[in-house]
């Protein structure tokens, strides 16, 4: 039998927007629009261009709370394009799809052999492709929160064929991902399949040892926030005569997320940060192969410029945006600047505070802030004055899972306390702003 190729993708999250990108003059607004659509189109182009024999998607076509039907129709259009080229498609519903009304009512196209592209959710379903010698075992999520181990019910392999398991799972658990359909690699190995195509975890990873059956998370095809950095795409599985296989990653993303981490401990002026960013950026653009970049700048370390960095963060943001525009021709979006520096003599000041507590007006500010950090009741009274605003904030902000914006989030209050000190010092010492 000739070489067969299967394209394994997952977590399309079609029409899911890029998060936390505040618009500004010169930002690549057009480039990020419909990024997930472009990534899906690239996946179909790749499948057709490479003449793959089969495409499998391991769940989460859509976002659960997004039911705009154009999204589904776009998926129908792209899957139809695939099927017209004679490439069958097999999909399972993930936790997001299960909650999405589109997956219930959208008329999907049928595969060239007349089978449905979506696998059943009531039981483990399968699709046999006799000519390819490939069988797909998979089961869709029936509801959003499937906490039982779906893999237990997956049947034994069909002998003489290439058995591929399609599963939406957190496996043994991962940060930032709900604990759905948990199982462990050994269980999957014991099934005796030839390849496990997994979805749900957005970072690409392989969960098998050398010589074992490949258990692969292909990751999502387009990063959507700063936690999803680096190249995103799909895995091409090439199967030989004896069902021996090789895998190859193919990037599909059109916007790439990256973090620029800068240790400011050696900085002598703000220019050091600006220059370091200007040096880093061209290399990243080259690595991203002309894709748009969404970049977060993290500044850390103990530095004498700490207060200045905090105080002039608005100015810094503008300077970094200017660098981004200059070096990329408007291809880079500065997502955010996070200044988490500390004064270089922080330890000295801290110990000095212990010894001469409260005898210096400026240190009184530091003392109060430090006291507030560890005083929950004081924090509670602090946030009382914010409730009038918080009541009016959009529900979407309250529902964000990453860096929760709920007033009860202690990290949020801590970040405000950290930012308050340099703001106060800046306003009390306005002359320092000039420097």
């Amino acid at each position: 039998m000739k070489l067969r190729r299967i394209l394994h993708a997952a977590d399309i999250h079609l029409d899911s927007p890029m998060l936390r990108l505040e618009e500004y003059e010169g930002a690549p607004v057009e480039q990020i629009r419909s990024a997930t659509r472009s990534a899906l189109a690239k996946m179909v182009d790749l499948a057709i261009g490479e003449s793959v024999d089969l495409v499998v998607i391991a769940g989460d076509l859509y976002d659960g709370d997004w039911n705009e039907f154009s999204t589904g129709l776009y998926f129908v259009r792209e899957s139809t394009r695939l099927i017209r080229h004679g490439i069958p498609l097999v999909v399972i519903r993930g936790n997001h799809d299960a909650a999405n009304l589109m997956t219930q009512s959208l008329p999907l196209p049928l595969n060239p052999d007349g089978t449905s592209i979506m696998l059943d959710h009531a039981q483990v379903d399968r699709r046999i492709f006799e000519k390819l010698g490939v069988v797909i075992h998979g089961r869709s999520f029936a509801t959003r929160a499937v906490t039982e181990d779906l893999s237990l019910a997956y049947p034994p392999p069909i002998q003489g064929m290439f058995n591929l398991g399609l599963l939406h799972t957190c496996l043994t658990g991962a940060d930032g991902h709900a604990n759905y359909s948990p199982c462990n690699p050994k269980q999957l190995q014991d099934k005796g399949y030839d390849y496990w195509a997994l979805g749900h975890i957005h970072d690409r990873r392989e969960c098998h040892q050398s010589g074992e059956t490949p258990i692969v998370f292909s990751g999502n095809i387009q990063g959507r926030n700063i936690r999803e950095v680096g190249a995103k795409g799909c895995v091409i599985v090439t199967i030989g005569d004896n069902n021996d296989l090789t895998t190859r990653f193919e990037p599909l993303d059109v916007v790439r997320w990256q973090s620029f981490d800068h240790d400011a401990s050696q900085d002598e002026s703000r220019d050091d940060l600006i220059n370091a960013f200007a040096d880093w950026l061209p290399n990243q653009l080259q690595l991203a192969e002309n894709r748009s970049l969404a970049v977060r700048v993290n500044v850390t370390g103990g530095t004498q410029l700490s207060n200045q960095y905090h105080r002039s963060s608005d100015l810094l943001v503008n300077e970094l945006r200017s660098i981004a525009i200059q070096h990329s021709g408007g291809q880079v979006w500065l997502e955010n600047l996070k200044v988490r520096t500390k004064p270089s003599n922080f330890a000295t000041i801290e110990s000095a505070l212990d010894e001469t507590e409260g005898d210096d007006a400026r240190h009184a500010i530091s003392h109060v802030i430090n006291a507030l950090r560890s005083d929950e009741s004081a924090q509670a009274s602090l946030i009382m004055s914010l409730k009038s605003l918080w009541k009016r904030l959009p529900a979407e902000l309250m529902a964000e899972e990453i860096d929760s914006f709920q007033l009860e989030n202690p990290d949020l209050v801590a970040s405000w306390l950290t930012a308050a000190e340099p703001i106060l010092l800046s306003k009390l010492n306005p002359s320092e702003d000039a420097s």
Partner: protein, 1205 residues
């Protein structure tokens, strides 16, 4: 840290200007300079020196930016740390050592500055006129909030209020409950609009499903209507067919009758006539062509017979062409033979020349020539190569040998000289002992400064103790007696004082009540007096009289009105006046009634007041007696211990002064001990240095050393009674001078010893180095000598075979070998040329033979006639002859081919003629006639039959169309059932139905089109997704704004808490110190400061007036006094700060110009006192301040530095 010296090396207008700020123990330095003298420049210089230059330099108008330098000496007296450094302008490594080159680690300076930033230094450790004014305004514009005042003064922040307002403004710009224009309100509005837009374009699953259902229904309806329309149309078509077919049936019958006569005629197809005409035409053409070809063939045969051909030449074609090709080579070979023969002659000549050259060099004496000998020796190439190699090495080997010998001789000489120097050199004494003594002593200035500080401390404390003793009013004893006083305990005094104060408070209250009662009594009495002075009142008669007048006037008026003689307004006015008069009388009587009542009441009150005043007077007397008893008891407590007391407040202050006296005396005792230790340290250091100098200078005998060592020990201050120290006078500073001299001696002596040591070590090092060099050059010399020997040995063995030639040198043998090599090469070339000549001659002969043979074979006659020509010419003639024969042959072949073609064509035409005849015969058979001439008639009959048949077919076809799927018979049968009238009516009905259904169908299709377009528009557009992305972008903005708002809110709260926290920590200590300063700065106008709570329980600062002890809120003070209050708080804060921190210089920039002379003098005294704890540098351009300082401060209480204009 203090600044001991400021060096304005190249800064502003200054070049190498230094200001010495090292003097103490009071480190109060006044830097005076008129305008343009560089006062502000010096201030900036201190800042730039300590914290680095500003990016934009303003002091580079004399010295360019790269040359700017400011520096000096900083010291930490408590740790004896001294830093001499210079600051240059730049981004990196801007701190240099005193040499202006060596980089200094800036952390040393940072450590001395205790991490204080430039801004903090300027604000917390700098007081300018503007700061003072701003600080005063802060107090006046505030609400007297002690926390705010303390915080501002502590941090040197005069704009705290503005900061709070800015924070609030910034917050409001972002968000406010009621604002619709704040940034966040705008963002939230945009979000709402975006959401509405999204809702309007979003396609939800339910919408999509409903649309699909409507489309399906519309498709079904359209399909059903279309079916019914189709049925009606079919029926109408059939009826139409019946109607139209009636006439066709008649036509069919007529055509069938006309066809009957010609129905037997053979039907010839349409091409029959054309075919017949074409065959006739072709037959004529063919005959013409055959005749023309016969003539052509005859002419060609004649031309063939005229051509001649000689086959012998053609047989020799290959040979002749070969000869032709070789003829060029033959000519080339002939030319090469000539050239080779010329070269052969030249080589023979050259060999002879080489031989003669060799023999000439050797000389000829009849023996075999040298060349012959050498050639006969047959020296191998290897031998020759070795001889040449040795020849080449010869000069190098000899040169190296010569250089090595020379180097060895030179080094030997140097070695001998150094050895001699070392033998006569004497190793000096080691400087280590001095080094250790100097290091352990450290900087003697520091020791002396420490001693000086201790002495100044003792002096200062002694003065303070005397002053305090003097301030103990009512006590005439000594300090010792004052300290030994057994003052009544605080509790017993407090108890007694509280009793007195309580009674005093009662006395005051009763006094107040008494005064109040007297005042009330006076008021009542005054009222009664005024009531007694009332005017005469109208009586009842006056009232009756007025009433009569009124009644009379009214009666007259009524009569006049009745009689028509009314004289208004005169009568009306009179009546009104009469009424008013009655009213006034009535009012006066009523008021009098009230007055009488009030008078009676006041008389009663006056009587009560008299009693109250009397009672209060009695009670006051009793209380005064009690107060006097308590006061006597309290005074006796003081008198018992020998103190004549003042009032309670004075005695409280007395106790404070006494307490301060006791504390100061204790400090004086400690200071004496420290002074003794410092003096002992100085002496010990001097002894140590003296001993070390003696050890290091055994030959020196310094009288100073012995004098110092045997001087008397330092005065044992700690062994003296404490109070003897109060009388202690300054001793001559002999120890200090001795220490400085000994230290200088030690340093000089150590330098000398180090120099000697260095010189000795240098010679030692040199000797060692030259010894090693000598060894190396000896080895090199030996190696070079061995190389020369080895060369000679090899040379001898290699030239041994040439011994017969006599003495051979490398130069002569080289020449010989080159000649022999040249001869051998020429001989090899000569042999090669001979061989080539032989081969070329053989080749020429072979060509000539071949030409003869080919010409004979081609044509012997031709060979004979051309035998006298050369071979090349013969060959050319043969080639021309061959070409002629080849051209004849080609012409012959062309003509033969042409004749064959013509013959073939003739045969083909004859065959075609037969075929045409056969076809014509076939046409006759087809048309049923015998000859081709009858064919035309047959064709006419056939045409008529075909025409009629076609018409009949058309009619029948039409009928079949009308019949549609029915058979013709069935159709004819059915059509016969209808008559014309009923058929037309039925067709009209069907047409109406069809029209109606068609209209319906159009409408259904239009609706269907709309629905289909609607479904088609749901093509997966990204419009909603784009809006969703925009919504996310907007959410990111709102999140950022909310973060900013929260941060500002928390910053505002933190600031409030920090102010409160600072107040809690510092209120007691700072206000306590500030009281004294404020009192002194206001020259006693204010006695104290007091913190109390205002109506809203906020702690508020009050100034207590000396005159009446009235409490004035801080924000009600005058401008100048508010400035003084701010300055007092600043200095007090600084003093409290110094309790737990090392000193940092206080820079005062002309901030006293608002003060009058008294206040300025008082402030100068305060600054001078402060300078005992930290350095104070006052910059001023006011001469009167300098004058005030001179008049009010002792000469050692401040130091004046003058800058020139």
């Amino acid at each position: 840290m203090i600044i001991e010296q400021l060096d304005l090396i190249a800064f502003g207008k200054f070049t190498n200007r230094s200001i010495d700020l090292s003097l103490g123990p009071r480190r109060f330095h006044i830097v005076y300079g008129p305008n343009e003298s560089g006062k502000s420049t010096s201030l900036r210089a201190i800042n730039d020196w300590l914290f680095g230059f500003e990016t934009k330099a303003v002091d580079d108008y004399v010295h360019n930016t790269t040359q700017l330098r400011v520096g000096g000496r900083l010291a930490e007296p408590e740790s004896n740390l001294v830093l001499n450094c210079i600051r240059r302008k730049g981004n990196k490594d801007t701190l240099l050592a005193a040499d202006n080159k060596t980089k200094i680690d800036s952390r040393i300076l940072d450590s001395m500055l205790q991490g204080i930033s430039k801004v903090t230094f300027a604000q917390q450790f700098g007081i300018s006129h503007q700061q003072l004014v701003d600080g005063g305004q802060l107090i006046l514009k505030g609400e007297g909030d002690i926390g705010e005042i303390l915080f501002s003064a502590g941090a040197g922040l005069s704009q705290l209020k503005q900061v709070r307002e800015r924070l609030l403004d910034d917050r409001k710009k972002l968000f406010s409950q009621r604002s619709t224009t704040a940034a966040m309100a705008t963002s939230l509005k945009e979000l709402d609009e975006l959401r509405a837009q999204l809702r309007s374009i979003a396609i939800l699953p339910t919408t999509y499903n409903r649309l699909r259902e409507r489309l399906t229904n519309a498709v079904n309806d359209e399909k059903s209507n279309r079916q019914r329309l189709h049925e009606a149309s079919a029926k109408r078509t059939k009826l139409d067919a019946f109607s139209r077919s009636a006439q066709l049936f008649v036509t069919r019958r007529l055509l069938q009758e006309q066809l009957e006569p010609v129905k037997s005629a053979i039907l010839l197809d349409a091409s029959f006539t054309n075919l017949r005409r074409d065959l006739n035409s072709r037959r004529i053409n063919t005959d013409t062509q055959i005749n023309r070809l016969k003539a052509e063939l005859s002419e060609l045969q004649d031309r063939l017979n005229a051509i001649e051909l000689d086959e012998r030449w053609l047989q020799q074609e290959v040979a002749i062409e070969q000869l032709n090709r070789s003829s060029g080579q033959y000519e080339q070979t002939a030319r090469s033979i000539s050239a080779k023969e010329a070269r052969r002659v030249q080589i023979v000549r050259e060999i002879d020349q080489h031989r003669q050259s060799l023999d000439g060099a050797q000389g000829t004496d009849g023996a075999p020539s040298l060349a012959e000998q050498l050639e006969s020796m047959h020296l191998s190439d290897a031998s020759q190569a070795e001889i040449r190699a040795l020849t080449n090495q010869y000069s190098g080997v000899m040169q190296r040998y010569s250089q090595a010998s020379e180097q060895f001789n030179r080094t030997s000489e140097t070695h001998r000289k150094l050895e001699k120097q070392l033998k006569i050199g004497i190793r000096s004494v080691s400087p280590a002992v001095l080094d250790e003594a100097i290091r352990s002593t450290g900087n003697p200035q520091h020791l002396l400064a420490a001693e000086s500080r201790c002495r100044a401390q003792v002096d200062s404390l002694r003065d303070k103790v005397n002053l305090l003793l003097h301030q103990l009013l009512g006590f005439d004893g000594t300090v010792e007696q004052a300290i030994e006083l057994h003052i009544p305990s605080d509790s017993s005094l407090a108890f007694a004082e509280q009793g007195i104060e309580e009674i005093q408070r009662i006395v005051n209250a009763r006094n107040h009540q008494h005064q109040q009662a007297i005042a009330d009594h006076s008021i009542i009495q005054a009222r009664l007096d005024s009531q007694n002075n009332t005017l005469a009142l109208p009586d009842i008669n006056d009232l009756d009289s007025a009433r009569l007048i009124r009644d009379s006037l009214l009666s007259d008026l009524l009569d006049a009105a009745t009689n028509g003689r009314l004289q208004t307004p005169k009568q009306a006015v009179e009546l009104r006046d009469a009424v008013l008069k009655i009213d006034r009388i009535y009012t006066l009587l009523h008021d009098h009634h009230d007055h009488v009542l009030r008078k009676k009441q006041d008389e009663r009150l006056l009587q009560e007041s008299d009693g109250k005043v009397t009672a209060l007077l009695e009670a006051q007397k009793q209380t005064d007696e009690k107060l006097q008893v308590s006061l006597n008891a309290w005074k006796s407590m003081w008198l018992d211990i020998g103190v004549a007391p003042g009032d309670i407040a004075e005695m409280r202050e007395w106790r404070d002064i006494h307490g301060l006296l006791v504390d100061t005396a204790a400090k004086l005792s400690e200071a004496c001990v420290e002074l003794r230790q410092a003096t002992a340290t100085v002496r010990q250091a001097a002894n140590h240095l003296g001993g070390a100098i003696e050890l290091a200078s055994p030959n020196l005998a310094s009288p100073e050393l012995s004098e110092h060592r045997h001087s008397s020990p330092a005065t044992k201050l700690n062994e003296l009674p404490l109070f003897a120290a109060l009388e202690l006078q300054d001793e001559p500073d002999s120890d200090s001078a001795a220490l400085l001299r000994l230290f200088a001696n030690a340093v000089n002596r150590r330098a000398e010893l180090i120099e000697q040591e260095t010189e000795y070590q240098s010679v030692q090092q040199q000797y060692k180095s030259v010894s090693e060099e000598l060894e190396r050059s000896r080895t090199s010399n030996d190696v070079a000598s061995k190389q020369v020997d080895a060369w000679h040995s090899r040379w001898t063995s290699v030239v041994e075979p040439l011994a017969s030639l006599g003495q051979v040198t490398p130069d002569s043998i080289d020449l010989m070998l080159r000649c022999v090599t040249e001869i051998a090469a020429l001989r090899r070339e000569l042999f090669g040329i001979d061989t080539e000549l032989q081969q070329m001659r053989e080749s020429q002969a072979s060509f000539r033979e071949a030409v003869f043979q080919v010409s004979m074979k081609s044509d012997p006659a031709f060979a004979t006639s051309n035998a006298n020509r050369d071979e090349v010419a013969q060959t050319a003639l043969m080639v021309r002859q061959l070409q002629q024969q080849l051209a004849n042959k080609q012409h012959l072949e062309t003509l033969a081919e042409q004749a064959q073609k013509s013959s073939n064509l003739k045969r083909q035409l004859e065959s075609e003629r037969g075929a045409i005849d056969a076809e014509l015969q076939s046409l006759c058979s087809e048309a049923g006639c015998d000859s081709s001439e009858q064919l035309v008639e047959c064709e006419r009959a056939s045409d008529l039959r075909r025409e009629l048949t076609n018409e009949l077919n058309i009619v029948e076809t039409q009928l079949r169309i009308y019949a549609a799927n029915d058979s013709m018979e069935q159709f004819e049968f059915e059509a016969s059932k209808y008559d014309g009238a009923s058929l037309g009516s039925e067709i009209d009905d069907l047409s109406l139905e069809i029209e109606k259904r068609e209209a319906e169908l159009v409408e259904q299709q239009r609706s269907l089109g709309v629905l289909e377009a609607e479904v088609a528009s749901l093509d997966g557009s990204a419009q909603a997704a784009t809006l969703l992305q925009e919504q996310q972008n907007l959410l990111a903005r709102i999140r950022r704004q909310a973060n900013e708002y929260a941060t500002l809110t928390i910053a505002q709260e933190v600031l409030s808490r920090a102010v409160e926290y600072y107040r809690g920590k510092n209120e007691g200590s700072v206000v306590d110190r500030a009281k004294d300063y404020f009192c002194r700065m206001t020259c006693g106008q204010y006695a104290s400061l007091h913190v109390d709570f205002d109506d809203s329980d906020k702690p508020t600062l009050f100034a207590v007036q000396q005159r009446d002890k009235a409490m004035v809120p801080a924000n009600r003070l005058s401008d100048g006094t508010a400035d003084a209050l701010y300055l007092a708080m600043r200095i007090a804060s600084l003093e409290v700060h110094l309790r737990s921190h090392k000193p940092i210089p206080l820079i005062v920039d002309d901030c006293l110009i608002q003060f009058d002379d008294d206040r300025a003098a008082a402030t100068l005294r305060i600054l001078s006192e402060l300078s005992l704890k930290t350095q104070v540098i006052l910059f001023t351009h006011h001469a009167h301040l300098v004058q005030l300082a001179t008049e009010n401060l002792a000469s050692d209480e401040f130091y004046l530095h003058q800058l020139d204009a």
